[in-house]
Amino acid sequence: MPALFLYLCANPNRSNCIAVYTDERVLKYTIRRLLLMIPTLFFVALITFGLAKAAPGSPFDRNPDKPPKQETIDRLNKYYGLDKPVHEQFLQWLGNVAHLDFGISIVRQRQVSEILAQGFPVTAQLGVQALVLALAIALPLGVISALRQNTIVDYGSLFFATIGTTIPSFVVAIFFIYFFAVWLRLLPIVGWGTPQHMIMPTIILSLGAAAFLTRITRASMLEAVRQDYVRTARSKGLREQVVIVGHVLKNALIPVATVVGPAAAGLITGSFIIETLFSVPGIGREYIRSIVALDYPIIMATTLLYAFFIVVANLSVDLVYGMLDPRIKVGK
């Protein structure tokens, strides 16, 4: 198997490169998957476009009590190309997207790319923080409850996991707001920017994923700890720590990795409710607003961005499998 280095470069002139050791098969596989992304995104766009257009109404009908004149609506429809047949609109949109032009928000009259560039970093930051927190809670808690099965620690983690998965985040959020802000006056509710502002949204967003990952980690640790290779490792006289980390945990992480991928994508893109409740200036609020207002360019760009992240997350998981367990042949 010929090994090669893949250079990931920040600049075209090949400065600031990171060399990633890989082999040809993995590289080919990655490229193939990336190419497969194109039809996936195409169909996501097609379906979203179809659904958005099928929704009744018009983006210019903001207030049923005071509708604009028909001539005004006609003129605006023409201006935004909404008077053309739907398939033509789609092709035109597709052509623009190929040049990375996502158009202008119909309602805001600002560049879609500019709106996304302002909102997405905030949403992504919130998501990454929540993911890191979820992993920081879930992995140790899952491991410990598996090793101390049926003890108070295990029951405690079960309690946490049940609460975390069953109570919806908006309920937890309201509870947090009342408890930490209105009663304790410890944390602010509104806004974004300082660490205090980030505490509540990050914790609440991470709870569901943390609870779920804790259960997966525990179950899969229990499975792995009973395997023959663990007994072998122990009988070789390896220290318990090495057995647990190097043999049990490493194998137990494969099912965990499977769910971390989609969970990561979900956290990074799926904080609509939390963003709305805590007035976080992310992209989720804008997404909801765009759907209500039928702001087609924003609906399309945001959906596409979300789809892109989910595809990338899934691909990353498949690549991570190979690292965790060399027996899984990536690319076969």
Partner: protein, 579 residues
């Protein structure tokens, strides 16, 4: 103005319930922590409590307030704004020729030195600008700036929803309705040159009207004529509403706009009056339950109260003392399609109007609002007439009227549908009305909820438009013309939807539009209003109202139903007391 007020109503009732249950169960678990926390917060002297400082109660020269503005406005360009959340931002930064007296809601001079002088034929109005007015960057404000702003209001390429209020100016409608893509630049500038807005010198602005229009003076107080500067619009392009180029002559200047997060306004020291508040932050919270929590956490100095939170507020002595009642600027009504049975028969329309118990509706459903006890125009507005009570709730009279209806109209009652923009609140309202008609008239009405963005399209079908529907109208400016003539004169917005066309009504309201004498004018409009209620193309149900919480240290505000910012019409009086 509460012009096109479109408040995003989010069903929060379930959140409220969750919160109440949570609170009870957590007491036992976290009781100790809470006690510790209460002690701690008392020690840190939360801004909520009064302090023993000797200066308490005096105006704080560095006073700062934080308000909630809901969601990010789509635009803050005065000539393009239509919703209250858009106008509310521009109102802090710009000031028009006129403004409104917060007590009487009559137009009074702002940037203008005095009321305009009107020519004897009523067609020419001359405004003189006050001496020494400046923009916040120090540049002088002249009549030319106003000329540019009003022309921009008519400009088809600026395409604002509110251009129609200027159509009474000569040439404005013709220019505004041109298609900028089809017309040549020469045609466009020729049309522009014909518009009757002219700065005759640096101090004088002259309007030429198509017809005498006593209602034009309040229009010159509206956002459509706020003096946006040509150089800023050109320099900023699509982004001219960002702080660098959003320069105005109003009490505040916009210093920061973090999209989807907040606005920051700071006092404009070049404003013609001394403003006592130093800084206004406007955050963007969509959820009323969250805004309410933020208010209680002292993160907001004011917060609107929605019906679900009202019980909590009224159960808490401290909050209850901070509750302020506000008048509204909207009237909600059942519209009847008069073109076909059953509502082609005035008896049926009046029967439907007289068979709903409005006060019960306010008590049981609406909670925040006022039962309609007059005609179309709500209290607090010129033209409100509580002697106009022909539609008063009266079951016996309603039944008698229905009996008198023609056989054709009676046949039309079968399968009658009530159409409304689908939402939880509207559904509750509709079910309530359905019950009233069933109980009081014995008529079964089917409910027909429709997606709100598709609602207005339904009314373009003439005779086949919905038969019975719920609509609201919110004032654009405080004048009867904006109610009677704009909405109900033949071809007006709701006249077109219901098919109502009455020569008697048209004659009265149009005469009111032209009448120069204020007393005669009011009488003409009151007559028109009574005619309208009698013809009953609609049944008036309730007038909007608001409730808000205001911290006790925010003082000097005179509330007015058309405030787009509390106390906006006399902002110099508003201050933050030291606390």
């Amino acid at each position: 103005m509460l012009g096109r007020l479109a408040r995003l109503r989010v069903p929060t009732a379930h959140l409220e319930e969750e919160r109440m249950t949570k609170r009870r169960t957590t007491w036992s678990v976290f009781g100790l922590l809470v006690i510790v926390a209460l002690v701690a917060s008392a020690c840190t002297a939360a801004p909520g409590g009064p302090t023993a400082s000797g200066a308490a109660g005096q105006a704080d020269p560095n006073g700062e307030i934080t308000l909630n503005t809901g969601s990010e406005p789509d635009t803050i360009d005065p000539q393009k704004s239509s919703f209250v959340n858009e106008i509310a931002q521009a109102a802090l930064v710009f000031e028009g020729l006129m403004t409104f007296d917060p007590k009487t809601t009559k137009p009074v001079p702002a940037a203008a030195a005095a009321m305009p002088t009107v020519s004897s034929d009523g067609l020419t109005l001359k405004y003189t600008i006050k001496d020494g007015l400046k923009y916040s960057d120090g540049a002088p404000l002249t009549a030319k700036n106003f000329e540019y702003a009003f022309l921009r209001g008519c400009d088809p390429t600026a395409a604002g929803d509110y251009a129609f209020v200027l159509y009474v100016v000569v040439g404005c409608e013709a220019w505004n309705t041109m298609d900028p893509k089809k017309s040549t630049p020469a045609d466009l500038s020729a049309a522009k040159a014909k518009v009757g807005v002219k700065a005759t010198d640096d101090k004088t602005l002259q309007f030429t009207l198509k017809e005498p229009a006593a209602y034009f003076v309040p229009i010159t107080a509206l956002w459509i004529g706020w003096p946006v500067r040509e150089s800023d619009v050109q320099k900023g392009g699509d982004k001219w509403t960002e702080p660098a180029t959003y320069i105005g002559n109003g009490p505040f200047k916009l210093t920061e706009w973090k999209h989807n997060e907040k606005f920051v306004f700071e006092r404009n020291d070049n404003y013609r009056k001394k403003i006592q508040i130093k800084k206004i932050n406007k955050v963007m919270i969509n959820e009323s339950a969250v805004a309410f929590a933020a208010y209680r956490n002292n993160e907001l100095d004011m917060a609107g109260v929605e019906a679900p939170d009202l019980r909590t507020v009224e159960g808490d002595a401290e909050l209850k003392a901070q509750l302020v009642d506000l008048g509204g600027s909207c009237t909600f009504y059942y519209g009847y399609n008069v073109r076909r049975p059953p509502f082609n028969d005035p008896n049926v329309r009046m029967a439907f109007s007289k068979s709903v118990d409005r006060q019960a509706f306010i008590n049981d459903v609406q909670k925040i609002g006022k039962a309609a006890d007059g005609g179309f125009i709500p209290p607090g507005f010129p033209g409100y007439d509580n002697t106009d009570n022909v539609q008063k709730f009266d079951v016996a009279a309603a039944k008698a009227l229905l009996d008198k209806a023609s056989p054709e109209a009676k046949a039309g009652l079968t399968g009658l549908k009530y159409t409304f923009a689908s939402s939880n609140t509207n559904k509750t309202r509709a079910e309530w009305a359905q019950g009233q008609w069933k109980t009081n008239l014995g008529v079964t009405v089917e409910l027909d909820p429709v997606q709100s963005t598709a609602y207005s399209a339904l009314f373009k079908k003439g005779q086949d438009s919905p038969q019975l529907f719920l609509l609201g109208w919110c004032a654009d400016f405080p004048d009867q013309q904006n109610w009677h003539s704009t909405v109900w004169a033949t071809g007006g917005i709701s006249a077109a939807r219901t098919g109502y066309s009455s020569k008697a009504f048209d004659d009265k309201t149009k005469a009111g539009d032209k009448e120069g004498d204020p007393a005669k004018r009011d009488a003409l409009y009151n007559d028109a209003g009574k005619q309208l209620s009698q013809d009953a193309p609609a049944g008036w149900v309730w007038y909007s109202a608001g409730k808000l919480l205001r911290k006790p240290w925010l003082k000097g505000i005179t509330d007015n139903p058309i405030d787009y910012f509390p106390g906006i019409f006399a902002l110099e009086n508003v201050f933050v007391a030291k606390h």
